[in-house]
Subunit: 206 residues, 2 copies
Amino acid sequence: MLVGALYTIKSITGVIRPCITSVLPKENGGIGLILDVGINADCKPDVLNQFASLGSLYATHVHKLKNPRIALLNIGEEEGKGNLLCQAAYNLMKDSEEYNFIGNIEGRDLFNDRADVIVCDGFTGNVVLKQAEAFYALTKKRGITDEYFDRFNYENYGGTPILGVNGSVIIGHGISNAKAIMNMILHTADVIDAKLSSKIKKAFQA
Amino acid sequence: MLVGALYTIKSITGVIRPCITSVLPKENGGIGLILDVGINADCKPDVLNQFASLGSLYATHVHKLKNPRIALLNIGEEEGKGNLLCQAAYNLMKDSEEYNFIGNIEGRDLFNDRADVIVCDGFTGNVVLKQAEAFYALTKKRGITDEYFDRFNYENYGGTPILGVNGSVIIGHGISNAKAIMNMILHTADVIDAKLSSKIKKAFQA
């Protein structure tokens, strides 16, 4: 799907690597977004910096979050913490005028309300996403019914746009059922109504 | 603590980077181990290969697991998947005669019984560990009492040895309470009784 999108409609000029997102349900009732979650296993610092811009535009225009708080997923809170990728990305992100960078967050902050958009390489994001799915599956297996944990069901969200391509392309879970596909279609309508692709194009031409 | 251990008692000859571990409770009642969980944010493939050996020795001699199954944490199951680090590490690990490599596993497998020891760089492992802690905290906050999820409480395990140093050094959570410290002391006794440091030394001299 990604390869098809890239060959057919191409990336938006200036976007180094398109990416995909996932929803992280917050315990306070809101949602967070994490990106990339799997199509860019190896990322350079400037790519993470662009993910921050793409995520900020998506959160603002589609999820209607005002001035979304953008954080870098790291293994310590202070500047200078983390692997070489995060150290370099932090330096690019900290003075950004394109989005509202709030600094590093850690794995323990994935479901609280510190950030609206969490930026990471696609390897880390994919592990985070699948671990969250595993936890949700375990709550079901253990017979736990809880309105917060039930929000981890991917069927509620349906899919994610590929951010940074010249058009509206939404990808969903390979095992999508009727409810997931319904929500994917509804989310596609939101992405189109928001003119997300045009807004990203405009931002990257500026 | 790590710096102190490295300066005072040094790494075992041949060990490129010592590492630390965490317990992952399995839903079937057993435990898995994951390493590194935070002291090596950037790893080379040969370092991951050594983590596999260190984890296998720890699982065998201290946790008394027979011929422990070693897996590489990745974002796809097939050989060739993942970031450049995992692709190269897989090539080193697949023919190992020092441990029982079973291939790649994904984030969804962290709590099932596919592997006994899960190898990853310290950045990924730290995010996994803190995400698991966040989930456990959320179950408590939601008033969920479940004997499986209760096994995620770090107090049950107390601490982890620093694998690969010339002696028995155990580190614990900065917020350790009495129960955690009791279990840390008991685990220290297990590590000493198993002569883990000597066994690692012998393996790395072979």
